[in-house]
Subunit: 354 residues, 2 copies
């Protein structure tokens, strides 16, 4: 459809899209934390370790209520570049799609109702295990339980994430499982060599053993939790993994525990797919031959400089923005380009402080 | 239909039932706590203040997983009378209805994914305010938010509760709002005079003021939270309040904040309606002219003595059992009596420790 491109497995993609117009969608927004994000320079998702912890709950509050309760203001950089949750919120509202926030090891709880799982935050994989084996198994189990609960209620479950530093753990998981992975980043200048050093340090600790043991060493809590959700939900409804390379890592772990490939697609933005360094398409293809739906939010045509920044590689994905834009388009039949005016109005509202 | 009687507003009841066969249901199980339950002799929902805190999460775990994680065993009295959550679990499973546990001030979190709201437990209304005004307003707000999230996903949202001591706070709220209320109890010998003394002490503290201020003084956290859920959810889907007199108190508070009466019914068991002391039908009629659906679980015919106890006035309602039995019957078209065999098998499974 106009503004949504179909890549990867196109036959399965056409089947995925069919029958969703007017269907029931739910966006589940998984908040998480890995101390890996505290490595200086590895992410811009928050200006300091203390504020980074608040990014996932602040995004959840903003998506749900249009304002943040856990922080003073909607996350925007000093020069006016907004959180991608702005796109998520506008897309969901345009199509009357609800958001359910879920904590899978978030360091801070949002001040709105959310699904709690009692998973602890993940470790800094440069120097310690990402998770204990028992926490990993709990993450998969809790993910399966919540996937089982939600899937029968919807035609399509959209799953997005917010975890500072999460592209580094995703890269580590994929390399640990022998998938050729280079991750994207929320920064225009992807700190590639730093991410590689962190990943190398984590991989160097691996001992021979089963794949889930390797994953525990390398992962953040979001990845096995979402793999568990995918595993159970894909038995009962269509599942769209909304994100970039992190969702390829989810698929790699989901391969280990099993899922129904016939009901799954990845949904992302054009900015991720065009990222010359990231290789989302290949990574997804290596893990599972799935359709990838690519939304063009058309922000390069915006009159607002802070919004044009999305198309220049700033925060090019996150908070499930791409998947939610696609979900809104699939539900309403409207092109993503139709959202631009609403995005600009919402941006103006944030800055006027209303 | 067979085994489900329609009382109260029968015209609205017929409209409520229509079109639900094969529909999408969700059971939301609201766990809460009031220190009122710590008054000796006021409830049997747990044998001591310490174990009472675990009753709501243990029921949630049992309904979802068939076993309890927070306590050693499924809640059963020493002489073999099981928690009404047994009926809830079997009814939901028979009709493939999912359960989502929600904490509205529960003192203990379940060891399964659940919706967290960060409301604190309620005070002992014999000697202190049930809630602060700001917690009361948060309870309503959080309830509205989660009702808004869930309602578009379902045709019928069933809301049940588990809160030790909750019939006493319900009675206090109704008396504070000038509704002629006598509550039922989980005990065959309803500790009427003790409940009245507690209620009198709470009412004696009331100062002239608005009704929500009175409610804050007298309530537990479950009542305003469920009133908030009802308020928003009834705009978008049918809502069945699964319970006894506590749901009449919810309706009294919902009257203050507004709800769509055209989409609401109370669902309960025959054992509550026949309770000579309780006056559920009149209390509901005084607050809102709603339909009351009454399930006959038929346990008096059971070969298991612990199950016949339900029909003798023990734990005659709770954990949304009546509403879930009705929901299962409405979804599948089968009579509640068809559940008895499965209830007996589940009872045997619990005792065999599998």
């Amino acid at each position: 459809m106009d503004g949504v491109e179909l890549c990867g497995n196109e036959v399965a993609g056409a089947r995925f899209i069919r029958g969703l117009e007017g269907g029931r969608f739910l966006f589940s927004f998984v908040m998480s934390y890995t101390r890996t994000c505290e490595i200086p320079g590895i992410t811009i998702a928050g200006s300091s370790p203390e504020t980074m912890k608040f990014t996932p709950p602040a995004d959840a509050e903003f998506i749900r209520c249009g304002r943040c309760e856990s922080v003073d203001a909607v996350p925007v950089t000093p020069d006016g570049k907004p959180t991608p949750a702005l796109l998520t919120r506008v897309a969901l509202n345009s199509a009357d799609i609800q958001c359910l926030a879920i904590s899978a090891g978030s360091a801070v709880s949002p001040k709105i109702p959310f699904v709690q799982t009692s998973l602890p935050p993940g470790g800094n994989i440069a120097q310690e295990s990402g998770m204990s084996i028992s926490d990993l198994m709990n993450a998969v189990r809790y993910g399966r339980l919540i996937g089982e609960t939600l899937a029968p209620l919807v035609d399509c479950l959209v799953i997005g994430e917010s975890i500072p530093g999460g592209t580094t753990t995703a890269q580590a998981v994929m390399r640990g499982l022998d998938i050729n992975a280079r991750s994207s980043s929320s920064m225009p200048e992807n700190p590639v060599s730093l991410k590689n050093r962190v990943t190398d340090a984590a991989l160097a600790r691996l001992k021979p053993g089963d794949d889930l043991g390797k994953v525990a060493e390398l992962t953040d809590p979001m990845i096995p939790f979402v793999a568990g959700m995918l595993s159970s939900a894909s038995k009962a409804c269509k599942v769209m993994l909304a994100g970039g390379t992190q969702m390829a890592a989810v698929l790699a772990v989901a391969n280990l525990i099993g899922f129904d490939t016939g009901r799954v697609a990845v949904g992302t933005t054009r900015y991720i797919v065009e990222d010359t360094y990231a290789n989302l398409l290949e990574a997804v293809d290596e893990t599972a031959n799935l359709p990838i739906l690519v939304a063009d939010p058309g922000m390069e045509d915006s009159s607002v400089e802070g919004l044009r920044a999305f198309s220049h590689g700033f925060a090019k994905e996150g908070a499930g923005a791409g998947g939610c834009i696609i979900a809104a388009a699939l539900k309403t039949g409207d092109s993503p380009a139709a959202l631009r005016g609403a995005v600009e109005r919402e941006y103006a509202r944030i800055f006027s402080g209303r």
